[in-house]
Amino acid sequence: MRQHSYLTRLCAAAYRTLLWLYPPRFRKEYGAEMALLFADLSRDAEKRHGAWGVFGLLVRAAFDTIYNSIGEWTMTLRQHWSRTLITLTGLAALVAVWVFMYLSMIVYTSLFLVPWDAMLSRPVEGSLAQIANDFFDGYGAFILSFLVLAINAAFFARAIHAGADAAALLWKFAIAGLVFIGVSWALAAGVGIYLSGIVWPHPVGRSDPGFHRSVFPVLMWLISYLFYLKLLMRFGRQDDTSAGFGATPVY
């Protein structure tokens, strides 16, 4: 009989927590099998690539879970609501999430983007440096936030053009947006705040609080955003199982 190491069991426990993202009926039907499958995969990953292999598997499984749980929730909606209701509520949800995302971005960038001279810990000279200073201290937050929304709208249009079902897509983008806001604040703010030394002294943040106060939260936010963009890109693909088999969406 093959044994599960402590690392494998730990990652399997983390994956079982992620399974709570699925609708209750799906989780009840397939949750145990999926947890067992993940344990098998993590045992193989550890054998081939060690601890990093297992960690990489968990990250890929987290993305797989978020993507598929959103798809499964939209399929659940289809079974209980009419197409008109799904479209109208989806549109309202997406608009609300995008407004929330915009405001969240403003707060986030205002908190963590310090002026350029504070990052460098010295006065800045020259017109370009002054522009950078104004950007990070003032209007940069609004521009970045608007850019994020523009990119989201472009991905939405791209998915519609690729033939994705519009009604379900509204809800997928809305739920994905909420997940992104939650993950970006939890991961980016948590790790960024810790390393920047804002709350309590940290060796990294202590050496240059201005620079690190900006860099680490922004870096963590960027990682969250790339994860989010990858999710949005998959929603327009033809092999999105929630579109059903064949050319016709299942309704």
Partner: protein, 116 residues
């Protein structure tokens, strides 16, 4: 009455690979993933969520069916659910492979692919 086979065509890549994996006999989820990795040389991978959502839809479509719960002696003593291809699933798989084969022949006739 069951929907005609052509209603299930074209299959999604995930569905096609799962049906191919089951063509050799019953498999559990991990076995399906291993088979897919083996015959694609690791080029096509399925996440657990994608695998089981596809399995769920294939079951609803009647293209696969559940077999018995049993342990896999090569792994551990956990009882695992096995899946098998149905007659309808085999017909859908053959129809999809015929469609892909026709595409490949067209591609060859245009000099886009090497000889068989």
């Amino acid at each position: 009455m069951d929907a005609p086979t052509e209603n299930h065509i074209p299959l999604t890549p995930a569905a096609l690979h799962i049906l191919l994996a089951l063509a050799d006999g019953e498999r559990h989820g991990y076995g399906i993933m291993q088979a897919v990795a083996q015959f694609t040389g690791g080029q096509f991978t399925l996440g657990p969520g994608t695998l089981y959502r596809s399995i769920k839809q294939l079951l609803e479509q009647g293209l696969i069916a559940e077999a018995e719960l049993r342990a896999d002696p090569a792994l551990d003593d956990e009882r695992r659910r096995y899946y098998k291809l149905t007659g309808k699933g085999e017909r859908a798989l053959r129809a999809e492979l015929a469609r892909l084969d026709a595409l490949v022949r067209v591609a060859r006739s245009h000099g886009l692919m090497g000889d068989a």
